[in-house]
């Protein structure tokens, strides 16, 4: 396996996301990089992955390639069950989704995710500094999937002690049984994938913990770029750089038009 020397930050996120997905699991897939990672997983180690898209398609083979939207025809052709939004979220609320795979702009140490607004909350809710698209289905996935996998670009300003707005709840304030007490189901965030590494959550404190560093990063360099104190897993390892073959699959097969994975400037 030759290691790629020109992979991009988005490409290693996609490879990490794909590797975390297990074959034959039901994964509720959000728009953007989660779709790319799911498709890469299907093309590599997880041909039996069962994607669920919030627009209402369950288990499509995705033979026509990467969807541009979670509701477009590519997510519906060949699907086993084809309905609308209520059906997709009802089966998730019933507990059928093993994983929810979502992206966000900002995250805190308990895996609470923001995709609503940047600015002063609650005072500035009606006049945000930057208004983001909003929850979409992410809040529902966070409240009802058995586990969630989060993708967040790593930036000191985006890994905050407190997020501007909790769109998709993680472990809330980290107190014991906080999710259950709030009425949610599912165990909560399972992994966070960033541009610098892979993180999990320490069982007792529910705090984010470094699990793998990406090549070129160290525990110290990651901590330096994080706005809260990270815990460190007992055996932190380096996540291997994507192989030439993985990068080729992303560029030529999974997202050949660069719809979600931006091409590096030559």
């Amino acid at each position: 396996m030759t290691v790629s020397t020109d992979y991009t930050a988005q490409e290693i996120i996609v490879v990490a996301g794909a590797k975390i997905l297990e074959n034959n699991k039901i994964v509720f897939v959000g728009t953007g990089l989660p779709m790319v990672a799911s498709l890469l997983a299907i093309f590599t180690h997880a041909p039996g992955l069962i994607p669920v898209f919030e627009a209402g398609a369950v288990g499509p083979p995705l033979k026509h390639g990467l969807p541009i939207s979670v509701g477009d025809s590519k997510t519906f052709t060949g699907a086993s069950y084809v309905k609308g939004l209520n059906a997709a979220f009802e089966l998730t609320q019933r507990g059928y989704a093993d994983y929810g795979f979502i992206g966000g702009a900002e995250v805190d140490m308990y895996g609470n995710l923001n995709s609503t607004m940047m600015g002063d909350f609650p005072a500035g809710y009606n006049k945000p500094k930057v208004r983001l698209p909003g929850s979409g289905g992410a809040a529902d996935m966070a409240a009802s999937c058995e586990r969630t996998i989060l993708i967040v670009p790593h930036d000191k300003k985006k890994f905050n002690q407190k997020v501007s707005y909790v769109t998709s709840p993680g472990y809330l304030d980290g107190s014991p049984d906080a999710r259950y007490k709030a009425g949610m189901q599912g165990k909560g965030p399972y992994r966070v994938i960033t541009t610098k590494g892979i993180f999990d959550f320490e069982e007792k404190t529910k705090r984010m913990r470094i699990l793998n560093t990406f090549p070129g990063e160290t525990i110290a360099s990651i901590q330096e770029n994080t706005g809260f104190e990270l815990l460190v897993a007992p055996n932190v390892t380096e996540f291997p750089a994507p192989t030439v073959e993985e990068v080729r699959l992303i560029r030529e097969v999974v997202d050949p038009n660069g719809v979600f994975v931006k091409r590096a400037a030559k």
């Binding site: 025809s73 519906f76 979220f89 809710y125 289905g137 809040a139 709840p169």
Partner: protein, 311 residues
Amino acid sequence: MKDKRMTLKEAVSRFVKPGDNVGIGGFVNIRQPIATCHEMIRQGFKDLTLSFQSAGMAPELLAGAMMARPDHCSIKRIELAYWGHEAFGLAQAWRYLTERSMIEFEDWSNHNMSARFKAGAMGLPFIPSRGPLGGDIKNTSRTKIMDCPFTGRPIALLPASHPNVALIHVQAADMYGNCIIRGTDATCAEIAMASAHTIVTCEQLVSHELIVSEPKDVMIPFPAVDAVVHVPFGAYPGACRRHYYFNGDAIREFVGNIAPMVKGGSADGLKAWYDANVFGVETFADYIEKFSNKKLIADQLAEAYHCERLA
């Protein structure tokens, strides 16, 4: 059953009133009621509330019209889960209006909004859901949290949504308003049933006999519909299953007229777009005519490839 066929001009002037809550069908840029939005902008609208789960071009066109021609078009409030264009970028009008505090809005999730329409469709005042528990949606919306009287666990109650008028684009309808939807149902049937009035635009206007040959395919039943308008390409430049895939260039081009305004730029480009494509034409068909046949056929072929089937 009554023949509900009419022009889009007539449908909009009869069923969209100042101050209305307008329910928007489709999902992001799929099967959005684009033609109806164009006609609403031509006629002008005032103090609307827009209600949708995830939307792209439909609110972007309506809000862009408010930015270009505030004397002619205005939106007061938006109840939504997501406004953006997925791979085609952020909704710049959403940023413009909120960052300048020009509209009221209420954030929900996709299931929250879909369940709110479902409650409306069921004739019930509210619906329980787990979606808003835990996060800030419950703090910024009308969500009520209560302990379930049966299990004792917290559960969120969401108010039903009852738009005054629903705008729905479908693949096929008959003259009475029986509708068939392909691909994602989105939340269209719920929105139509929950609303006081529904304007349906369709790619194909077919005989009643054909529609009822597979009666279980009827997604929206005739009593929920007030106007049926035959509008090929009615969701373009968004996608419509079995008919056409996205014209991403046209979506990016339109949003590109709004983006500079977020940073304080002038409205000239946006005004010119509306003058050329909405105010300067009589009907949506005139707008579609501006695209090259080559491009329209390419988008039809892309979609035909995604849903391979014998004619």
